[in-house]
């Protein structure tokens, strides 16, 4: 994307040196992306890639490469419980990181 055409949601006030944002972020984020790839390889190697959380992760990845903005928001939404009513009782357990569809 050209620096002359910022995507929607880009703020009006940013520091002048925009190139710096790539220098700052690229290597740490590159490492995280490789962690994702290695994790997906690992769960396949262990034969557990059909776990609903792994399914949710693969689905979320499509947002990384679709060329549309607000990737972080859309990935967070993809992991979220889509229901709207309060649950009858607590499971007593902590959250898992991805919504578990009924039957999954």
């Amino acid at each position: 994307m050209s620096s002359a055409a910022p995507s929607p949601g880009t703020p009006t006030v940013l520091p002048a040196d925009r190139q710096k944002i790539v220098d700052l972020g690229f290597v740490p984020v590159r490492a995280k992306l490789i962690e994702v790839a290695a994790f997906l390889d690992r769960v396949e190697r262990y034969g557990v890639a059909s776990d609903y959380r792994c399914v949710a992760m693969r689905a979320a990845l499509s947002a990384l490469a679709d060329g549309k903005p607000e990737r972080a928001r859309r990935i967070l939404e993809s992991f979220s419980d889509p229901t709207t009513e309060p649950d009858a009782v607590s499971t007593g357990k902590a959250a898992y990181g991805a919504y578990r569809p009924p039957g999954a």
């Binding site: 710096k20 700052l24 967070l76 992991f79 979220s80 009782v89 607590s90 007593g92 959250a95 898992y96």
Partner: protein, 270 residues
């Protein structure tokens, strides 16, 4: 650099952490009531805890000349037991007069259940009745989006709630706009593995503006970092933001929100 830590569970931290925070520029720390790592068996357990965060922790922080404030409630994780919740809520008014109590918090939802909703509504009634500020915890991970919607519906439907006196904490990219659009303040929590990182927090400020936002470490006994707010300042510096910009986010903003409680006497906004 100066900053406020508006959300730290210092009962679970060492005295060394107090020292490190002060050395990093911390001007005040605020401790919301939360889960103790186990479910307390009676209201007396909460009475002891409320004494701990209104008496003992301020004294521990004072060794480093660090003002310590707190918020009171029964946290959402222990709010499934309605009878216990009623007993604990009955204790709170006697503590509200303490000189370092800022309001009711961190209330909210944990697993988005009906009983948690009832206890949230009871806390909101209590806060309105006693004209207290409100600090809200939003649920974790896959529960956050639904929980934030349920919480904001409760708050918006209560005629006595003034949104500018409510901060909704632990926002992320999928909840921050809803919170700000409804007139609430938004808290961004900096955690190593969940919630937000310093770069994402600064992204949210760039996109949503810096008017009604604070950042906090929410440090507790879990994987967390009591110095994550000053580390987010380093991220802003690295991107080229001015010291004035950084100061507004990490010092002036929390001072502005917290000064709505006349007991909060740290600095002055602007």
């Amino acid at each position: 650099m100066r900053y406020i830590e508006p959300h730290g569970h210092m009962v679970s931290r060492t005295t060394d952490d107090y020292q490190a925070m002060v050395i990093a520029g911390c001007q005040a720390v605020c401790e919301p009531a939360f889960w103790a790592g186990y479910d307390r068996s009676s209201a007396d357990g909460f009475r002891d805890y409320f004494r701990q965060i209104t008496e003992y922790e301020p004294a521990r922080a004072a060794k480093y000349k660090l003002p310590h404030y707190c918020w009171l409630c029964i946290n959402p994780k222990e709010a499934e037991d309605l009878a216990l919740a009623r007993d604990v809520l009955a204790l709170i008014p006697e503590f509200l007069a303490k000189p370092t109590v800022l309001g009711i918090g961190e209330i909210g939802l944990n697993r988005n259940t009906k009983n948690e909703m009832k206890v949230l509504e009871m806390h909101v009634d209590l806060a309105v009745k006693h004209n207290q500020l409100i600090l809200v915890h939003t649920p974790h991970l896959e529960d956050k989006l639904k929980g934030t919607k349920l919480i904001s519906d409760v708050l918006k439907s209560h005629p006595g709630v003034k949104p500018e006196r409510v901060i909704i904490d632990h926002v992320e990219e999928h909840t921050i706009k809803r919170v700000l659009d409804q007139g609430f303040w938004a808290g961004i929590t900096l955690y190593p593995d969940s919630k937000s990182s310093p770069p994402r927090a600064v992204d949210m400020i760039e996109i949503c503006g810096r008017e009604r936002i604070w950042m906090n470490s929410a440090c507790d006994w879990g994987h967390s970092d009591p110095l994550s707010v000053p580390k987010a300042c380093l991220e802003m510096r690295a991107r080229g933001y001015s010291e004035e910009f950084i100061d507004q986010v990490v010092y002036q903003n929390p001072v502005r929100f917290l000064s709505q409680c006349p007991k909060f006497k740290v600095g002055a906004a602007g």
